[in-house]
């Protein structure tokens, strides 16, 4: 599984326009819905927000990975967003988050879901990958960066 296989221009948000947690998640979810794989937006949003209640998915170094399993989607859906000015996502290191990977998958996709989460973590460990994404100004540029990183 490659991230690039899950990404199209329509599920990439550059720049993210909202400044608060739930609106940012909704903005990314709308991009995910553009894939046509989200069958119930309200249920998907609920699953994502329920997951946030367990603990923020804002990690370190500006990375946030809001994620949830729910049968409100068909298969697995990824949306990527860049917020150059950062968003207060209650991240683990107290810093603003500016690089978002929203992942939602059906209950039956456990193995793939974990593999994709691990792949996001793998790629995001690379400083050059994060830096290049943050400099991206269009969905096309984001796609090129992800493709190049996975070549």
């Amino acid at each position: 599984m490659k991230l690039s296989a899950l990404l199209e221009r329509k599920n990439i948000v550059v720049p993210i326009l909202n400044l608060d947690k739930q609106p940012v998640i909704e903005e990314l979810l709308d991009a995910a819905c553009a894939t046509g794989k989200v069958t119930d937006r309200a249920k998907a949003l609920q699953a994502l927000m329920d997951r946030e209640k367990l603990g923020s998915t804002g990690l370190e170094k500006g990375l946030a990975i809001p994620h949830a399993r729910t049968n409100a989607v068909y298969g697995i859906v990824l949306a990527v967003g860049i917020a150059p000015d950062g968003v207060d996502f209650q991240a683990a290191d107290g810093e603003f988050s500016n690089l978002f990977f929203l992942l939602i998958a059906s209950e039956a996709m456990t193995t793939t879901y974990i593999q994709v989460l691990a792949l996001i973590a793998r790629l995001s460990q690379q400083e050059s990958f994060r830096r290049n994404l943050l400099a991206a100004r269009t969905p096309g540029e984001v796609l090129d960066i992800v493709n190049k990183a996975e070549e």
Binding site: E60, E107, T111, R122, A149
Partner: protein, 164 residues
């Protein structure tokens, strides 16, 4: 081990990827042709779940939930591969383990005395400092027996379907 056989004991590494199904189909075909013993092994990657929890991507309750669901997934994959083998009248043994995937697969190769390991296509290499590494790649490098990496799914499907 019977020395007059091309291969005697084939171990299939099943990881829940699409590629592992093709690896299994090829292994079934090879076992049918050579008369080799066949075993499918699935390892619940509790190590990766712990890493995801350590990286704060998962909270503890998710680590537990996903561990349980992966185990169910593993059992489902092994049942499916057993059906694929039986459909071609090939005997197969299965085993599900939990822990560090590459360590347990390497151990099983030795313990079962496998002389061929079959795996699906490898994930892309992303970084030398890769914490969330591809387990199959490590197994490929560390296995003490020969390792066959299965590609070309269409051809494998054709080989499997043409088996009598």
């Amino acid at each position: 081990m019977e020395s007059d056989r091309l291969v005697s004991k084939i171990l299939l590494f099943i990881d829940g990827s699409e590629g592992c199904i093709y690896a299994a189909k090829f292994g079934i075909a090879l076992a049918k042709v050579t008369g080799a013993e066949l075993k499918a092994l699935y390892v619940v990657n509790t190590n990766l779940l712990r890493q995801l929890e350590k990286a704060r991507i998962f909270v503890k309750v998710e680590e537990i939930d996903f561990g349980r669901d992966l185990e169910e997934d593993g059992r489902r994959y092994l049942r499916h591969i057993t059906e694929l083998a039986l459909r071609k009248e090939v005997s197969i043994e299965t085993e599900l383990l939990k822990g560090n995937v590459h360590e347990l697969v390497i151990q099983e190769i030795k313990k079962w005395n496998a002389d061929l390991l079959i795996i699906g296509e490898l994930e892309p290499i992303l970084s030398k400092q890769d914490t969330f590494h591809d387990e199959a790649e490590i197994i490929f490098r560390k296995a003490h027996c020969s390792v066959l990496v299965i590609k070309n799914p269409e051809r494998v499907d054709q080989i499997y379907e043409e088996l009598s």
